[in-house]
Protein backbone atom coordinates (compact mmCIF):
# COMPACT_ATOMS: atom_id res chain seq x y z
CA UNK A 1 0.00 0.00 0.00
CA UNK A 2 2.78 2.42 0.66
CA UNK A 3 5.00 4.04 -1.93
CA UNK A 4 8.11 2.40 -0.56
CA UNK A 5 9.31 -0.29 -2.96
CA UNK A 6 12.48 -0.94 -0.95
CA UNK A 7 10.47 -2.12 2.05
CA UNK A 8 9.66 -5.82 2.03
CA UNK A 9 5.95 -6.55 2.13
CA UNK A 10 4.80 -8.82 4.92
CA UNK A 11 1.65 -10.57 3.82
CA UNK A 12 -0.62 -12.14 6.41
CA UNK A 13 -2.36 -15.41 5.62
CA UNK A 14 -5.24 -15.90 7.97
CA UNK A 15 -8.46 -17.88 8.04
CA UNK A 16 -10.46 -20.25 10.22
CA UNK A 17 -9.07 -23.49 11.52
CA UNK A 18 -9.07 -26.13 8.79
CA UNK A 19 -9.88 -23.72 6.00
CA UNK A 20 -6.85 -24.69 3.94
CA UNK A 21 -4.24 -22.05 4.70
CA UNK A 22 -1.25 -24.37 4.63
CA UNK A 23 -2.45 -26.20 1.54
CA UNK A 24 -2.90 -22.91 -0.29
CA UNK A 25 0.49 -21.67 0.83
CA UNK A 26 2.20 -24.84 -0.33
CA UNK A 27 0.59 -24.60 -3.74
CA UNK A 28 1.53 -20.95 -4.15
CA UNK A 29 5.12 -21.59 -3.11
CA UNK A 30 5.43 -24.51 -5.48
CA UNK A 31 3.99 -22.35 -8.21
CA UNK A 32 7.16 -20.29 -8.30
CA UNK A 33 7.28 -17.98 -5.31
CA UNK A 34 9.44 -20.19 -3.10
CA UNK A 35 12.92 -18.88 -3.98
CA UNK A 36 12.29 -15.31 -2.91
CA UNK A 37 9.63 -15.85 -0.24
CA UNK A 38 10.18 -16.33 3.48
CA UNK A 39 7.44 -18.03 5.44
CA UNK A 40 6.73 -17.59 9.11
CA UNK A 41 4.35 -20.15 10.52
CA UNK A 42 2.67 -19.26 13.76
CA UNK A 43 1.61 -22.49 15.35
CA UNK A 44 -0.72 -22.52 18.29
CA UNK A 45 -0.76 -25.50 20.56
CA UNK A 46 0.72 -28.87 19.84
CA UNK A 47 -0.77 -29.56 16.44
CA UNK A 48 1.79 -28.89 13.74
CA UNK A 49 0.35 -27.15 10.73
CA UNK A 50 2.43 -28.21 7.81
CA UNK A 51 5.87 -27.00 8.63
CA UNK A 52 7.78 -29.91 7.17
CA UNK A 53 5.86 -29.87 3.95
CA UNK A 54 6.34 -26.15 3.53
CA UNK A 55 10.00 -26.42 4.37
CA UNK A 56 10.62 -28.52 1.29
CA UNK A 57 9.83 -25.54 -0.84
CA UNK A 58 10.47 -22.31 0.96
CA UNK A 59 13.93 -20.84 1.18
CA UNK A 60 13.45 -20.14 4.84
CA UNK A 61 10.68 -21.25 7.16
CA UNK A 62 10.56 -20.05 10.73
CA UNK A 63 8.08 -21.56 13.11
CA UNK A 64 6.88 -19.63 16.13
CA UNK A 65 5.19 -22.17 18.33
CA UNK A 66 4.97 -20.55 21.73
CA UNK A 67 1.48 -19.16 21.35
CA UNK A 68 -0.82 -17.12 19.23
CA UNK A 69 0.81 -14.24 17.37
CA UNK A 70 -1.93 -11.82 18.32
CA UNK A 71 -1.59 -12.46 22.04
CA UNK A 72 1.92 -13.17 23.15
CA UNK A 73 4.31 -13.36 20.31
CA UNK A 74 4.79 -9.86 19.03
CA UNK A 75 8.29 -9.64 20.46
CA UNK A 76 9.05 -12.99 18.85
CA UNK A 77 7.70 -11.71 15.57
CA UNK A 78 10.02 -8.72 15.69
CA UNK A 79 13.00 -10.97 16.41
CA UNK A 80 11.99 -13.41 13.69
CA UNK A 81 11.65 -10.72 11.05
CA UNK A 82 14.95 -9.14 12.03
CA UNK A 83 16.58 -12.56 11.73
CA UNK A 84 15.20 -12.77 8.22
CA UNK A 85 16.56 -9.34 7.41
CA UNK A 86 19.98 -10.38 8.72
CA UNK A 87 19.88 -13.58 6.66
CA UNK A 88 18.97 -11.58 3.59
CA UNK A 89 21.87 -9.23 4.09
CA UNK A 90 24.38 -11.95 4.96
CA UNK A 91 23.52 -14.29 2.10
CA UNK A 92 22.64 -11.78 -0.56
CA UNK A 93 19.31 -13.58 -0.61
CA UNK A 94 16.93 -11.97 -3.12
CA UNK A 95 14.09 -11.98 -0.64
CA UNK A 96 11.07 -10.17 -2.08
CA UNK A 97 8.31 -10.92 0.40
CA UNK A 98 7.40 -12.53 3.71
CA UNK A 99 4.23 -14.50 4.37
CA UNK A 100 3.09 -14.97 7.95
CA UNK A 101 0.67 -17.86 8.27
CA UNK A 102 -1.26 -17.23 11.43
CA UNK A 103 -3.02 -19.73 13.58
CA UNK A 104 -6.69 -20.24 12.84
CA UNK A 105 -7.86 -18.09 15.72
CA UNK A 106 -5.37 -15.27 15.35
CA UNK A 107 -6.32 -11.65 14.98
CA UNK A 108 -4.16 -10.19 12.19
CA UNK A 109 -4.43 -6.60 13.41
CA UNK A 110 -1.79 -6.67 16.19
CA UNK A 111 0.64 -8.07 13.66
CA UNK A 112 0.00 -5.08 11.38
CA UNK A 113 0.49 -2.70 14.31
CA UNK A 114 3.77 -4.36 15.16
CA UNK A 115 5.08 -3.74 11.66
CA UNK A 116 4.40 -0.02 11.98
CA UNK A 117 5.21 0.52 15.62
CA UNK A 118 8.58 -1.18 15.90
CA UNK A 119 11.29 1.23 14.85
CA UNK A 120 13.56 -1.54 13.56
CA UNK A 121 10.87 -3.22 11.49
CA UNK A 122 9.46 -0.15 9.86
CA UNK A 123 12.74 0.66 8.19
CA UNK A 124 12.85 -2.81 6.60
CA UNK A 125 9.29 -4.07 6.21
CA UNK A 126 5.82 -2.82 5.42
CA UNK A 127 2.37 -4.28 5.85
CA UNK A 128 1.39 -6.19 2.73
CA UNK A 129 -1.90 -7.82 1.90
CA UNK A 130 -4.13 -9.73 4.28
CA UNK A 131 -5.29 -12.99 2.72
CA UNK A 132 -8.11 -14.97 4.26
CA UNK A 133 -9.04 -18.51 3.33
CA UNK A 134 -12.72 -19.37 3.48
CA UNK A 135 -13.84 -22.99 3.34
CA UNK A 136 -16.51 -23.42 0.69
CA UNK A 137 -17.35 -26.87 1.96
CA UNK A 138 -18.06 -25.52 5.45
CA UNK A 139 -20.24 -22.80 3.95
CA UNK A 140 -21.40 -19.41 5.24
CA UNK A 141 -22.51 -20.82 8.60
CA UNK A 142 -18.90 -21.47 9.55
CA UNK A 143 -18.17 -17.75 9.39
CA UNK A 144 -20.50 -17.21 12.32
CA UNK A 145 -18.92 -19.87 14.50
CA UNK A 146 -16.44 -17.53 16.15
CA UNK A 147 -16.15 -13.73 16.20
CA UNK A 148 -12.50 -14.10 15.20
CA UNK A 149 -13.57 -15.50 11.85
CA UNK A 150 -15.67 -12.46 11.02
CA UNK A 151 -12.78 -10.18 11.99
CA UNK A 152 -10.32 -12.17 9.89
CA UNK A 153 -12.54 -11.98 6.84
CA UNK A 154 -13.24 -8.27 7.33
CA UNK A 155 -9.50 -7.58 7.45
CA UNK A 156 -8.87 -9.38 4.17
CA UNK A 157 -7.73 -7.73 0.97
CA UNK A 158 -8.05 -11.05 -0.80
CA UNK A 159 -10.51 -13.78 0.16
CA UNK A 160 -9.52 -17.16 -1.20
CA UNK A 161 -12.42 -19.58 -1.40
CA UNK A 162 -10.99 -23.03 -0.78
CA UNK A 163 -12.30 -26.56 -1.34
CA UNK A 164 -14.63 -25.29 -4.06
CA UNK A 165 -14.18 -28.57 -5.95
CA UNK A 166 -15.66 -30.42 -2.97
CA UNK A 167 -18.42 -27.93 -2.28
CA UNK A 168 -19.90 -27.70 -5.76
CA UNK A 169 -21.10 -24.73 -7.75
CA UNK A 170 -24.22 -23.77 -5.83
CA UNK A 171 -22.57 -23.88 -2.42
CA UNK A 172 -19.62 -21.91 -3.73
CA UNK A 173 -21.92 -19.26 -5.16
CA UNK A 174 -23.72 -18.98 -1.83
CA UNK A 175 -20.45 -18.60 0.00
CA UNK A 176 -19.21 -16.01 -2.49
CA UNK A 177 -22.33 -13.95 -1.86
CA UNK A 178 -21.88 -14.26 1.90
CA UNK A 179 -18.23 -13.23 1.66
CA UNK A 180 -19.13 -10.23 -0.49
CA UNK A 181 -21.74 -9.25 2.10
CA UNK A 182 -19.28 -9.53 4.94
CA UNK A 183 -16.41 -7.85 3.13
CA UNK A 184 -17.18 -6.13 -0.17
CA UNK A 185 -13.62 -4.76 -0.20
CA UNK A 186 -11.98 -8.15 -0.65
CA UNK A 187 -11.11 -9.47 -4.08
CA UNK A 188 -12.34 -13.04 -4.30
CA UNK A 189 -10.29 -15.86 -5.76
CA UNK A 190 -11.48 -19.42 -6.22
CA UNK A 191 -8.70 -21.88 -6.83
CA UNK A 192 -6.93 -19.32 -8.98
CA UNK A 193 -3.43 -19.96 -7.74
CA UNK A 194 -1.81 -18.22 -10.70
CA UNK A 195 -3.75 -15.04 -9.99
CA UNK A 196 -2.76 -15.14 -6.34
CA UNK A 197 0.88 -15.77 -7.23
CA UNK A 198 0.83 -12.85 -9.61
CA UNK A 199 -0.66 -10.55 -6.99
CA UNK A 200 1.90 -11.55 -4.38
CA UNK A 201 4.75 -11.32 -6.87
CA UNK A 202 3.67 -7.76 -7.67
CA UNK A 203 3.58 -6.80 -4.01
CA UNK A 204 -0.17 -7.40 -3.85
CA UNK A 205 -0.91 -4.82 -6.48
CA UNK A 206 -0.47 -1.16 -7.26
CA UNK A 207 -2.16 1.47 -5.12
CA UNK A 208 -4.56 2.25 -7.97
CA UNK A 209 -5.55 -1.40 -8.31
CA UNK A 210 -6.07 -1.73 -4.58
CA UNK A 211 -8.65 1.05 -4.61
CA UNK A 212 -10.33 0.19 -7.91
CA UNK A 213 -12.66 -2.23 -6.15
CA UNK A 214 -14.48 0.79 -4.73
CA UNK A 215 -15.71 1.80 -8.18
CA UNK A 216 -18.16 -1.07 -8.43
CA UNK A 217 -19.77 -0.75 -5.01
CA UNK A 218 -23.29 0.68 -4.91
CA UNK A 219 -23.80 3.50 -2.43
CA UNK A 220 -25.77 2.95 0.73
CA UNK A 221 -25.98 0.55 3.63
CA UNK A 222 -26.06 -3.20 3.18
CA UNK A 223 -28.03 -5.78 5.09
CA UNK A 224 -26.32 -7.56 7.94
CA UNK A 225 -23.89 -10.25 6.88
CA UNK A 226 -24.31 -13.79 8.20
CA UNK A 227 -21.39 -13.33 10.59
CA UNK A 228 -22.40 -11.75 13.91
CA UNK A 229 -23.39 -8.08 13.63
CA UNK A 230 -21.22 -7.37 10.61
CA UNK A 231 -22.58 -4.70 8.29
CA UNK A 232 -21.12 -2.29 5.81
CA UNK A 233 -21.94 1.03 4.28
CA UNK A 234 -20.70 2.70 1.10
CA UNK A 235 -20.65 6.48 1.36
CA UNK A 236 -20.41 8.57 -1.78
CA UNK A 237 -20.43 12.34 -1.84
CA UNK A 238 -19.72 14.67 -4.73
CA UNK A 239 -16.91 17.15 -4.69
CA UNK A 240 -13.68 17.61 -2.77
CA UNK A 241 -12.97 17.41 0.96
CA UNK A 242 -10.45 19.06 3.26
CA UNK A 243 -7.73 16.57 4.18
CA UNK A 244 -7.02 18.05 7.65
CA UNK A 245 -10.72 17.96 8.56
CA UNK A 246 -11.06 14.43 7.22
CA UNK A 247 -7.93 13.20 9.02
CA UNK A 248 -9.17 14.64 12.32
CA UNK A 249 -12.61 13.10 11.83
CA UNK A 250 -11.28 9.65 10.89
CA UNK A 251 -8.67 9.36 13.64
CA UNK A 252 -11.19 10.63 16.19
CA UNK A 253 -13.75 8.10 14.98
CA UNK A 254 -11.32 5.20 15.05
CA UNK A 255 -9.92 6.19 18.43
CA UNK A 256 -13.37 6.10 19.99
CA UNK A 257 -15.01 3.31 17.97
CA UNK A 258 -12.17 1.36 16.38
CA UNK A 259 -13.09 -1.80 18.23
CA UNK A 260 -16.34 -1.94 16.29
CA UNK A 261 -15.09 -0.62 12.94
CA UNK A 262 -13.48 -3.62 11.34
CA UNK A 263 -12.40 -1.96 8.14
CA UNK A 264 -12.14 1.43 6.44
CA UNK A 265 -11.27 2.06 2.83
CA UNK A 266 -11.84 4.97 0.54
CA UNK A 267 -10.68 7.57 -1.92
CA UNK A 268 -11.25 11.28 -1.60
CA UNK A 269 -10.24 14.37 -3.51
CA UNK A 270 -8.30 16.78 -1.34
CA UNK A 271 -9.25 20.28 -2.36
CA UNK A 272 -6.00 21.82 -1.08
CA UNK A 273 -3.62 19.42 -2.80
CA UNK A 274 -5.82 19.01 -5.86
CA UNK A 275 -5.14 15.29 -5.66
CA UNK A 276 -6.87 11.99 -4.97
CA UNK A 277 -5.85 10.27 -1.75
CA UNK A 278 -6.50 6.67 -0.82
CA UNK A 279 -7.07 5.67 2.80
CA UNK A 280 -7.12 2.15 4.14
CA UNK A 281 -7.47 0.90 7.68
CA UNK A 282 -8.09 -2.31 9.57
CA UNK A 283 -9.69 -1.42 12.86
CA UNK A 284 -7.35 1.17 14.41
CA UNK A 285 -4.47 0.30 12.12
CA UNK A 286 -4.12 2.81 9.30
CA UNK A 287 -1.93 2.16 6.31
CA UNK A 288 -0.09 5.29 5.12
CA UNK A 289 -2.36 7.42 2.93
CA UNK A 290 -1.63 6.97 -0.76
CA UNK A 291 -1.46 9.58 -3.50
CA UNK A 292 -3.41 8.13 -6.40
CA UNK A 293 -2.74 8.92 -10.04
CA UNK A 294 -6.42 8.89 -10.79
CA UNK A 295 -7.83 10.35 -13.97
CA UNK A 296 -11.20 10.92 -12.31
CA UNK A 297 -12.39 14.51 -12.12
CA UNK A 298 -12.81 15.99 -8.61
CA UNK A 299 -16.56 16.22 -9.19
CA UNK A 300 -16.86 12.43 -9.28
CA UNK A 301 -16.65 12.60 -5.53
CA UNK A 302 -15.28 10.63 -2.67
CA UNK A 303 -16.11 7.04 -1.79
CA UNK A 304 -15.66 5.70 1.69
CA UNK A 305 -16.55 2.22 2.91
CA UNK A 306 -16.87 1.08 6.51
CA UNK A 307 -17.37 -2.48 7.71
CA UNK A 308 -18.67 -2.52 11.26
CA UNK A 309 -19.52 -5.11 13.86
CA UNK A 310 -22.06 -4.11 16.47
CA UNK A 311 -22.19 -0.50 15.31
CA UNK A 312 -24.96 0.86 13.11
CA UNK A 313 -23.17 2.18 10.01
CA UNK A 314 -25.99 4.69 9.52
CA UNK A 315 -24.52 6.63 12.45
CA UNK A 316 -21.20 6.88 10.61
CA UNK A 317 -23.05 7.96 7.48
CA UNK A 318 -24.76 10.78 9.38
CA UNK A 319 -21.49 11.90 10.90
CA UNK A 320 -19.73 11.82 7.54
CA UNK A 321 -22.55 13.87 6.03
CA UNK A 322 -21.97 16.53 8.68
CA UNK A 323 -18.25 16.54 7.89
CA UNK A 324 -18.91 16.81 4.20
CA UNK A 325 -21.34 19.67 4.71
CA UNK A 326 -18.73 21.52 6.73
CA UNK A 327 -16.11 20.91 4.04
CA UNK A 328 -18.47 22.22 1.38
CA UNK A 329 -18.34 25.61 3.02
CA UNK A 330 -15.69 27.99 1.66
CA UNK A 331 -12.20 27.13 2.85
CA UNK A 332 -10.59 29.43 5.38
CA UNK A 333 -6.99 30.33 4.75
CA UNK A 334 -4.74 29.52 7.73
Amino acid sequence: MSDAPDLLPVHVLTGPLGSGKSTLLNRVLRGGLAPDTAVIVNEFGQAGLDGTFIQEDAEEVLVMDNGCVCCTLRADLVDTLMRLAALRDARGWPLRRVVVETSGISDPVPLLHTLRADTRLRDRFRAGAVLCTVDAQAGPAALAERPEYAAQLAAADIAVLTKTDLAGGAATQALAAAVAGANPLAAQLRGEDAALQARLAAGAGTPEAAFRILDALPAGPAAAAPAHGVRHVVLRYPGPLSWPAFAIWLTQLLHLHGDRILRTKGVLFDRDRGAWIGVHGVRRFLHPPVHLQSGKPPESGSCLVFITDGLDPARIAQSYRRLWSACAEPATQP
Partner: protein, 94 residues
Protein backbone atom coordinates in the same frame (compact mmCIF):
# COMPACT_ATOMS: atom_id res chain seq x y z
CA UNK B 1 1.76 -1.06 23.31
CA UNK B 2 -1.35 0.89 22.71
CA UNK B 3 -2.86 -0.08 19.39
CA UNK B 4 -3.15 3.44 18.05
CA UNK B 5 0.58 3.99 18.35
CA UNK B 6 0.84 1.75 15.33
CA UNK B 7 -0.83 4.44 13.31
CA UNK B 8 2.20 6.66 13.60
CA UNK B 9 4.50 6.60 10.63
CA UNK B 10 8.25 6.80 10.37
CA UNK B 11 8.97 10.02 12.14
CA UNK B 12 5.82 11.79 11.11
CA UNK B 13 2.17 11.32 11.90
CA UNK B 14 -0.22 9.12 9.93
CA UNK B 15 -1.95 12.07 8.37
CA UNK B 16 1.31 13.21 6.75
CA UNK B 17 3.06 9.87 6.31
CA UNK B 18 3.24 8.74 2.74
CA UNK B 19 1.22 11.57 1.31
CA UNK B 20 3.67 12.96 -1.21
CA UNK B 21 7.43 13.19 -0.95
CA UNK B 22 7.40 16.04 -3.45
CA UNK B 23 5.13 18.21 -1.37
CA UNK B 24 6.85 21.34 -0.24
CA UNK B 25 7.70 22.00 3.36
CA UNK B 26 5.61 25.13 3.05
CA UNK B 27 2.55 23.11 2.09
CA UNK B 28 3.05 20.72 4.99
CA UNK B 29 3.44 23.59 7.44
CA UNK B 30 0.34 25.26 6.10
CA UNK B 31 -1.59 22.02 6.41
CA UNK B 32 -0.34 21.42 9.95
CA UNK B 33 -1.46 24.95 10.85
CA UNK B 34 -4.89 24.29 9.37
CA UNK B 35 -5.11 21.03 11.32
CA UNK B 36 -4.16 22.80 14.55
CA UNK B 37 -6.75 25.50 13.97
CA UNK B 38 -9.47 22.92 13.32
CA UNK B 39 -8.44 20.97 16.43
CA UNK B 40 -8.55 24.11 18.57
CA UNK B 41 -12.04 24.82 17.30
CA UNK B 42 -13.14 21.24 18.02
CA UNK B 43 -11.59 21.20 21.49
CA UNK B 44 -12.73 24.68 22.53
CA UNK B 45 -15.37 23.23 24.92
CA UNK B 46 -12.50 21.54 26.77
CA UNK B 47 -10.55 24.85 26.78
CA UNK B 48 -7.70 23.16 24.97
CA UNK B 49 -5.69 24.88 22.26
CA UNK B 50 -3.45 23.23 19.70
CA UNK B 51 -0.57 24.86 17.84
CA UNK B 52 1.44 23.40 15.01
CA UNK B 53 5.16 23.18 15.44
CA UNK B 54 7.38 22.80 12.37
CA UNK B 55 9.69 20.28 14.00
CA UNK B 56 7.68 18.04 16.25
CA UNK B 57 4.03 18.11 15.34
CA UNK B 58 1.68 19.80 17.76
CA UNK B 59 1.76 21.63 21.07
CA UNK B 60 -1.34 20.91 23.11
CA UNK B 61 -2.11 23.47 25.82
CA UNK B 62 -4.45 22.56 28.64
CA UNK B 63 -6.56 24.93 30.74
CA UNK B 64 -4.46 24.16 33.81
CA UNK B 65 -1.48 25.73 32.11
CA UNK B 66 0.28 22.54 31.12
CA UNK B 67 1.57 21.95 27.62
CA UNK B 68 2.40 18.67 25.95
CA UNK B 69 3.93 17.69 22.64
CA UNK B 70 2.06 15.34 20.30
CA UNK B 71 3.55 13.84 17.16
CA UNK B 72 0.22 13.57 15.39
CA UNK B 73 -3.51 13.24 15.67
CA UNK B 74 -3.46 9.78 17.19
CA UNK B 75 -1.16 11.01 19.92
CA UNK B 76 -3.43 13.95 20.67
CA UNK B 77 -6.41 11.65 21.29
CA UNK B 78 -4.21 9.58 23.60
CA UNK B 79 -3.12 12.65 25.50
CA UNK B 80 -6.72 13.61 26.11
CA UNK B 81 -7.60 10.06 27.14
CA UNK B 82 -4.66 9.99 29.51
CA UNK B 83 -5.93 13.10 31.24
CA UNK B 84 -9.42 11.68 31.54
CA UNK B 85 -10.89 14.24 29.16
CA UNK B 86 -13.94 13.35 27.10
CA UNK B 87 -13.00 13.39 23.43
CA UNK B 88 -15.86 14.78 21.34
CA UNK B 89 -17.63 11.88 19.70
CA UNK B 90 -18.15 12.44 15.97
CA UNK B 91 -21.09 10.02 16.03
CA UNK B 92 -23.03 12.34 18.30
CA UNK B 93 -24.74 15.29 16.70
CA UNK B 94 -23.30 18.62 17.89
Amino acid sequence: MCSLCGALGRGVSWEQDGLAPAESRTHRRREAAATAAELSRLLRPLRITVDAHPDFGFLVSFPTGGTQIAGGLAEIWHLLDGRGLAIPDPLLAP
